[in-house]
């Protein structure tokens, strides 16, 4: 009912985003910064930005999310936010005892031209940064990119700010995991460690945004990549960037700064995505693929074959982050489904090429779009014209799901109305099994619901 005015052949829009399939850069920068141990993200802008980002992340993770703000005033918008940031730095180190502050900018501070490098230099000169404490920053004006590019910029800044070049590379592997859930970061770590090598994930939000109830609340939880680990990324044997959009810039920065060879892969979602990741690990480490992982793979393939008849020819509509959409699309094709529609608000031409490749073997026609006008409203108009069998994306898709009576598998960011994403990984073979199960159950539940009495089946 809510979206009943959406038309099947919506006119091409020039000036407007309706029901955006994206949000702004700073929230991505904040999420990335939370993955550094002892780090307090700091929003250099008006205090509302910080409040909105914290609320949204809290709704998604059901965890306390802490971040500070420069609390811009009318004066700072005219004379610059230097004094606000200096005061903030002093307060954060003295009261909150953070090890590190990750500053990200906003549309406001960027437009008035605050130079964070210069302000941080001034803070150093004024003695505001205690021994052994750090500040790093990313420029994340809200009028460029999306939350994904904000995440990418903060990850890149981690490498630019901390990674130390080494004469001789070490044995460990560095991984930029991309914008995935804490549970996914755990799984990625487990997969690499199965090869018997040490791994640094940068950033790593596990142990930060998926903590247990212990009767205590730590201002800075135990998880997160330490500064020492970030420094040591410079001596990694290789860095793997998972997800070109979210992780590509960080990996390439490490390569050019410290000569660490960088490999950029799509997210290890589903069968082939995980295959490529594991194959790379095998090549890099020179070790055979561990039996455990082979066994997990066989179980995913087993599931796919057992239930193949229910997947065959089914179509999906997806929205959200480009890295997630591309990887999911390929998995759908492996399941003999196809991504009928996909939109990402994150601008970047690479998406179209990557989708073309991911959909090479699709069993049906795929329509996808990126950028400013690729919003939920547009996708809804496509859906009005011809329905897919399932929707896959964040909670904002529930209006379409309800209006069009199409099942929704919640995936990506934000998920504001269900749990599970914090706890259960969707990367790796085990994650592929979870995704396949979620999608499959939608189809089977629907069949049970809609089947006429005589066709209602006990055994499926």
């Amino acid at each position: 009912m809510l979206l009943r005015h959406t038309e099947a052949d919506a006119p091409e829009r020039k000036a407007l985003t309706i029901n955006p399939a994206k949000t702004c850069q700073p929230i991505g920068a904040m999420y990335a910064a939370l993955g550094v141990h002892g780090c307090l993200p700091h929003s250099h802008g008006s205090q509302g930005c910080c409040s909105y980002h914290r609320s949204q992340l809290t709704r998604h993770y059901k965890e306390p999310v802490l971040a500070a703000t420069s609390s811009f005033t009318e004066g700072s918008s005219v004379f610059g936010g230097q004094s606000n940031l200096l005061q903030a730095i002093s307060n954060i180190f003295s009261i909150y005892d953070a090890d590190v502050i990750a500053v990200h900018t906003t549309c406001l501070s960027e437009t008035i031209g605050d130079d964070i490098n210069q302000i941080v230099r001034k803070a150093k000169e004024d003695g505001l940064i205690p021994e052994g404490k750090y500040i790093f920053h990313a420029n994340t004006p809200s009028y460029q990119g999306s939350q994904v590019t904000g995440f990418a910029s903060m990850c890149k800044s981690m490498m630019d700010s901390f990674a130390e070049p080494a004469d001789k590379p070490g044995d460990h592997i560095a991984i930029v995991p991309g914008w995935v859930e804490p549970a996914d970061m755990r799984e990625i770590r487990r997969i690499v460690e199965a090869f018997g090598v040490e791994v640094t994930l940068a950033p790593d939000t596990s142990g930060v945004l998926d903590t247990g109830l212990t009767g205590t609340s730590q201002y800075f939880p135990d998880g997160g990549t330490t500064i020492d680990e970030l420094k040591a990324c410079g001596s990694a044997r290789t860095v793997i960037s998972l997800g070109p959009s979210a992780s590509g810039p960080a990996g390439r920065a490490l390569e050019s700064r410290c000569k660490v060879p960088c490999e950029v892969l799509e997210l290890p979602i589903g069968l082939q995505g995980t295959d490529r990741f594991i194959q790379s690990l095998s090549v890099i480490t020179g070790k055979p693929i561990p039996e455990q992982l082979k066994w997990e793979r066989s179980r995913l393939v087993d599931l796919m074959s057992d239930m193949g008849q229910y997947f065959y020819g089914k179509s999906a509509a997806l929205w959200g982050d480009p890295d997630q959409i591309v990887a999911l699309s390929e998995f759908l094709c492996d399941l003999s489904m196809f991504p009928k529609y996909a939109v990402t608000g994150t601008p970047g031409k690479g998406f179209m090429k990557r989708m073309e490749k991911a959909c090479e073997n699709a069993s049906g026609p795929c329509r996808y779009e990126e950028g400013q006008r690729a919003d939920m409203h547009k996708m809804h108009s496509w859906i009005k014209a011809d329905k897919p069998d399932v929707l896959i994306g964040g909670t904002h898709g529930k209006y379409i799901a309800r209006d069009e009576d199409i099942p929704l598998v919640r995936h990506g960011f934000p998920i504001l109305d269900r749990i599970g994403h914090q706890y259960f990984n969707t990367v790796g073979y085990t994650g592929g099994m979870r995704l396949a199960e979620q999608i499959l159950n939608c189809f089977l539940d629907r069949q049970d619901r809609d089947a006429p009495e005589e066709r209602f089946e006990l055994v499926m």
Binding site: N19, T23, G48, Y52, S55, R59, S71, L85, I95, Q372
Partner: protein, 449 residues
């Protein structure tokens, strides 16, 4: 608050006890503080959001629209335009060349498509600093389309959330007085400051209906543009959530001579007091009689169950942190009627008088705090001695992590907590959280690190 809780030097005078120490308030959050507060835009957006038949277009980069897209459970009995997210999604190009053209095109497109009764254009930080003349674009669009197109000057940096309330009231004030009041019945009221969260407005309206009091407009819960335009035909403005709406009430008093009263619908006492105050003002003896009868009936309906819950809740302690101060006052009273004691009370947007009243109402050792930081909150809760925390979205997981029950009395409440039924719902919600077996599981409450 206490010596063992580190408070930023700049904030020392914003924390005190109910023993009469002055509480400083109404100023910008300290830079570097992990404040629970939001900005001017947020203040204006939450107030205007529930107007259901208007377009709400956020003029700025996409974030401000994305975070306020359908996040408030303000229910509508008619159109639901307010639940859609519209953004001009300003990009680098507009930062250089200005965003007016884009805004104009967006307005034309949307008005043609949705035929709204009006439109609100929220001017955010960026629109403010790139110098877009949003007023002029709105004025022209208004002439072109024959509907009110109202600029909301809400750059985040231009004050606090309270400033945003005022900005919203200014926007509303441009509507009030532009409609025809010839059909407005005598003795009608406007309900100000209820946002129809979980349908609470409908509960309140039903009371006034029983009392025979006509309602012209509800600002802004379940509101319609054309009702707001006629709001100046009222004999009385009944203002809840004084922080957000008092500015409009004062403006209407000044311009149209409409008196206002401040009320609250949280708890028995305050709800009954509200209905009686309205009946008194309207010199309609019948209304008072009906109000008394209604209060008797409603109270009788829920009292047995409330008594039972009170027995179970008596003696428990509560910390509460609200948006506005008026609600904090009501909650302290409502909790007291359940036998519960408030040990910390604070809000984001209280004024001097609010805090003085809060101090008068609370026990002498109750901590009173303006614009609390997460740090102070965490430390306070971790010291123990708090059974329940009442707050909003950002506080919930913090309370839970410390093993403390929680009740959302903010935007994300899921059940109506206003009026007599609402009091019972509130008690049930409090009890369900406080009595949850999960708190009895073996976890020890420790210090915040």
């Amino acid at each position: 608050m206490s010596k063992d809780i580190a408070i930023l030097a700049e904030r020392q005078d914003q924390v005190g006890r109910a023993d009469g120490s002055a509480i400083s308030c109404g100023r910008h959050s300290t830079a570097g503080a992990v404040t629970q507060r939001a900005c001017v835009f947020c203040g204006s957006r939450v107030v205007l959001y529930p107007i259901t038949d208007a377009l709400h277009i956020v003029h700025g980069p996409v974030g401000c629209a994305a975070y306020t897209w359908d996040i408030r459970g303000s229910l509508s009995s008619g159109r639901e335009l307010h639940r859609l997210g519209f953004s001009t999604d300003l990009r680098e190009r507009e930062v250089v060349f200005g965003g007016e053209k884009k805004l104009r095109a967006a307005l034309d497109e949307l008005i043609a498509e949705h035929k709204p009764a009006g439109a609100f254009i929220y001017s955010t930080c960026l629109a403010g600093v790139i110098g877009d003349d949003v007023d002029a674009v709105c004025k022209a669009a208004s002439t072109r389309h024959g509907i009110p197109v109202i600029p909301v000057q809400a750059p985040g940096f231009a004050g606090t959330k309270i400033t945003g309330y005022r900005v919203a009231c200014d926007a509303l004030a441009t509507l009030v007085g532009t409609g025809d009041t010839s059909t407005v019945p005598a003795g009608a009221i406007n309900i100000l400051g209820d946002f129809n969260l979980a349908g609470e407005l409908w509960t309140i309206k039903s009371y006034y209906q029983v009392m025979g009091v006509p309602i012209i407009s509800t600002i802004t819960g379940d509101a319609r543009i054309n009702d707001i335009r006629r709001a100046h035909g009222a004999a009385l403005n009944v203002v809840q959530c004084s922080g957000s709406m008092i500015h409009l009430a004062r403006d209407m008093e000044r311009r149209f001579g409409i008196p206002y009263i401040q009320v609250s619908y949280v708890g028995f006492e305050d709800t009954a007091a509200a209905l009686y105050a309205v009946a008194e003002k309207l010199v309609n003896t019948d209304a008072m009689q009906r109000a008394q009868e209604l209060v008797r009936n409603e109270v009788a309906k829920v009292t047995p169950e409330l008594r039972r819950l009170k027995k179970l809740l008596a003696g428990r302690t509560v910390a509460l942190y609200t948006g506005g101060a008026f609600k904090a006052l009501s909650l302290v009273r409502a909790l007291r009627s359940l036998g519960m004691r408030t040990v910390l009370a604070g809000c984001q947007t209280g004024g001097d008088q609010d805090y003085q009243e809060l101090q008068r109402l609370c026990d002498p050792d109750t901590v009173i705090v303006d614009d609390i930081t997460t740090h102070e909150l965490g430390r306070f809760l971790a010291r123990g001695g708090v059974d329940l925390f009442i707050g909003g979205v950002k506080e919930r997981p913090l309370a839970y992590k410390l093993g403390i029950a929680f009740c959302d009395h903010n935007h994300e409440r899921k059940h109506g907590l206003a009026g007599f039924d609402g009091m019972l719902t509130f008690a049930e919600e409090v009890f369900s959280s406080v009595s949850s077996p999960v708190w009895k599981l073996p976890v020890t409450r420790g210090e915040m690190g």
